[in-house]
C-alpha cells in the first residue's frame, strides 16, 4: 500500500530524514519508534505532503505522491491523525465527525449516518458527548474524536502521530485497543509512537528511527526481543540486572 524508497526531507538546510526506505502492506499496523528528534513526525509530515521531500519516492496505492500538494493527499485515502488531536473546539462532537466525512468526498446521507454510527460504536463515549462542544472533552476523548474524524473518510491508510502523548495509561490502553480493532476491521495503520513498548505490543512490524535513519526494522516481536531496542527504548535493561 505504502512504499517509500530513499526518502530525504528536512527543514531548510537541515536534513532530517536520511535515505529512509520502508513499507506498509494492507491490513497491517506498522509502528515507527524512536527518540525525540529522530525524525518520526517529520516522516509522517512528509508522507502527508506537509513537508516536501527533497529526494526519494513515496508510492501510495501504486502512485508516487511525493510531489502532490498536501490538500490532495487525504483525497487519495491517506489521512493523518495529528499529534495533539487538533479537533475543532467550538464545534460539537457530532459536527466534528460529520466534517471528517464531508471534507473529502460528497457521501450521501445514508452512508454518512452509517459511518457516524460506526464511530459511535467504536468510541461509545463520543456518542454520550455528541452534542457537547469538542473543546470541553478530556484529552483522551479528544484523541478518540480525532481518530473518529479521520475514519469518517474511510481512508486506506490511517497515520497516527503519537496518539498516547499526555494521556493516562488506562486511556492509552483504550486507544490502542481501538487501533487493534481497526486492523481487525481491515484498516491499515501507520503508528508513530514514543511509547515503543505499547506500540510494538500491538504492531505487526516496526521501524526504529535514529537521527533520521532506519537503524533496525523487522517484525514487532523481533524488535521487542532486540537488545539494542530494549536498552534504548524499552527501559528493560535495569530489570534484568
Amino acid at each position: 500500500m505504502l512504499k517509500i524508497r530513499n526518502l530525504e526531507a528536512g527543514y531548510g538546510k537541515l536534513r532530517v530524514l536520511k535515505n529512509i526506505s520502508m513499507h506498509v502492506s494492507g491490513g497491517e499496523i506498522v509502528a515507527i519508534i524512536g527518540a525525540n528528534g529522530a525524525g518520526k513526525t517529520t516522516l509522517l509530515a512528509t508522507i502527508a505532503g506537509l513537508i516536501r521531500a527533497t529526494s526519494g519516492e513515496i508510492g501510495f496505492l501504486g502512485a508516487d505522491i511525493s510531489r502532490l500538494a498536501a490538500a490532495k493527499i487525504p483525497g487519495r485515502g491517506c489521512v493523518m491523525v495529528p499529534e495533539g488531536r487538533q479537533v475543532f473546539a467550538s464545534m460539537t462532537v457530532a459536527d466534528n465527525l460529520i466534517l471528517g466525512g464531508h471534507a473529502l468526498s460528497r457521501q450521501n446521507k445514508k452512508d454518512l449516518n452509517r459511518l457516524l454510527d460506526h464511530q459511535y460504536e467504536l468510541f461509545p463515549i463520543l456518542k454520550e458527548r455528541k452534542s457537547q462542544l469538542a473543546g470541553t472533552l478530556s484529552g483522551g476523548e479528544q484523541q478518540m474524536l480525532a481518530m473518529g474524524r479521520a475514519l469518517m473518510s474511510k481512508p486506506s491508510l490511517v497515520m497516527m502521530d503519537e496518539p498516547s502523548t499526555g494521556l493516562a495509561p488506562l486511556i492509552v490502553r483504550d486507544i490502542f485497543q481501538v487501533i487493534v480493532r481497526l486492523r481487525a476491521e481491515g484498516n491499515t495503520v501507520l503508528l508513530v509512537e514514543q511509547n515503543a513498548k505499547a506500540a510494538l505490543a500491538i504492531a505487526d512490524r516496526g521501524y526504529v528511527l535514529e537521527t533520521g535513519k532506519v537503524i533496525i526494522q523487522g517484525p514487532a516481536e523481533d524488535l521487542l526481543a532486540n537488545k539494542d531496542v530494549q536498552r534504548a527504548y524499552l527501559g528493560r535493561e535495569k530489570l534484568e540486572e
Binding site: S21, S25, K213, V214, I215, I216, D222, K227
Partner: protein, 432 residues
Amino acid sequence: MYWQQALECMPREDLEQLQLERLQATLYRLGTHVPFYRRKLREARVNYEAVTSLAALRGLPFTTKEDLHGNYPYGLFAVPLRDVVRIHSTSGGAGMTTVVGYTRNDIKNWSDLVARILRGAGVTAEDVVQIAYDYGIFTGGLGLHYGAERLGASVIPISSGNIKRQIRIMRDFKTTALVCTPSHALKIADVMMDMGLNSNELSLRYGVFGAEPWSEAMRREIGERLGIVATDNYGLAEIMGPGVAGECRECNGLHINEDHFLVEVLHPETLEPVAAGEIGELVITTLTKEAFPIIRYRTRDLARLLPEPCPCGRTLSRMSRILGRSDDMLIIRGVNVFPAQIEAVLADINGTGSPYLIIVDRENHEDKLTVMVEVTELLFSDQIRKQSALADTIQDRLVTDLGIQVQVKLVEEKTLETIDSKGQKVIDNRRL
C-alpha cells in the same frame, strides 16, 4: 507445503523493497558497530548511509575467509557478547578457524528458515525427524534440530556415530524423516544391507540432505536404496548454517531464502556477475543477522542460478546444487574449466558419474586437457566399436560444454586409483 507462505511466495517487487530496507539497515549497523567494516567501507569509498538500490551492492567490498580469520574470535560481531546466546565455529581447513555468534532473534530466524526447508522437503509436524548430523560446535546438528522443533516435528537428536544403533532406532521409533549428509545416508544403506534389513521395514519417507556436495546420481541411489524422496539443502556457518537455501518437492534446485540473504553469482576471477544461468561463485550478503552480519562473503562454492519460476509457487529464486569449489578452477588456454562441469557431463551421459581424472599437460607451449574416464560395469561393452563411440560422445559433449579441445580416454575400472591414490580429480603437469 510452505512454512511462511507470505514470505516464501511474496511478489518479487515487494521482496525487493524488503531486501533494500534490510540491506540499508544492515549496512548502517555494520558501519556503526563493526570497526573492521567501517574501515573497509571507507577504504572502498562507500558511504554506507547512501546506498539507494540493490544494484549498489556491486560497489561494496567483499568479505573473505581471511577477513574472518583475521578478526578471530569476536572482531566481526555487531553486538556485545552479552547479547549473544550461541556461538558456533568452523574449522575451515588450513587453520582458518572462524567464530560466528547468534542473538536470540538470530536463533529464531534461523529456526524459521530451517523449518521452511524441512517443510519444503515434505516434512510436517506429524513427522518423526532423526537428525544424524554431528551435534556440537558445527552448525548442522543444532541448526537442523531447532528448525525441526520449530516445525513441531518429533525430533530424535541421534547425532553421528554408531550406525547400527541409528538404524535400530530408526526402525523402532518409526522415523519418517532422515536428516544428515548424503554420504552418511549411503553409509546407512550399506550397514542396513549388512544387517539384512530392508528399507520396507522402516517408516522412512523423506531424506533432507546437505553439508557436502553430492550429485543427481547419488540422489537416485539414496532414493532407491532407502525408499525415500531425497532433497538437497545448502548453508554455511559463516552466513548462518543450514537454512540458506533448500529444495522443494519438485527437486529441481534450491530455493534461496532471499528475504534473509542476497546471493550474487560472480566469475571467480573477474568478480563480475556471470550471465544469467551461468556457473559462478556464490557471494552472499546477510540481511537480518544481528550478531554476525556479513557483506559479500566469498563462499568459494560454485553454482548457477535457475531463472525459470518453480511450479511449487515459491517466488524465491532457485540455485543449482553446489557444483564445486572456485578454488578448483583450472585455466586452460585462457578458458576457465571447473571439474564440476566435466562431472556434470559424465553424470548426464551414463547417469552414474564414473570416476574420472583430469590431466593437464603443456606441450609446445600449448595446454592439453585429457580426461580419463573409468569404464565401470554400466559403461562396459565388449564391442570395441561401442566403446569408441562412447568415448566420442563424451568428447563431443565436453568440447561443446567447455569450449576447448579435450582428449577423452577410457580406462579399465580401478585404474585411476593406481595413478593417483590421493583421490585428486586433477593432475596439473604444467608447473605454472
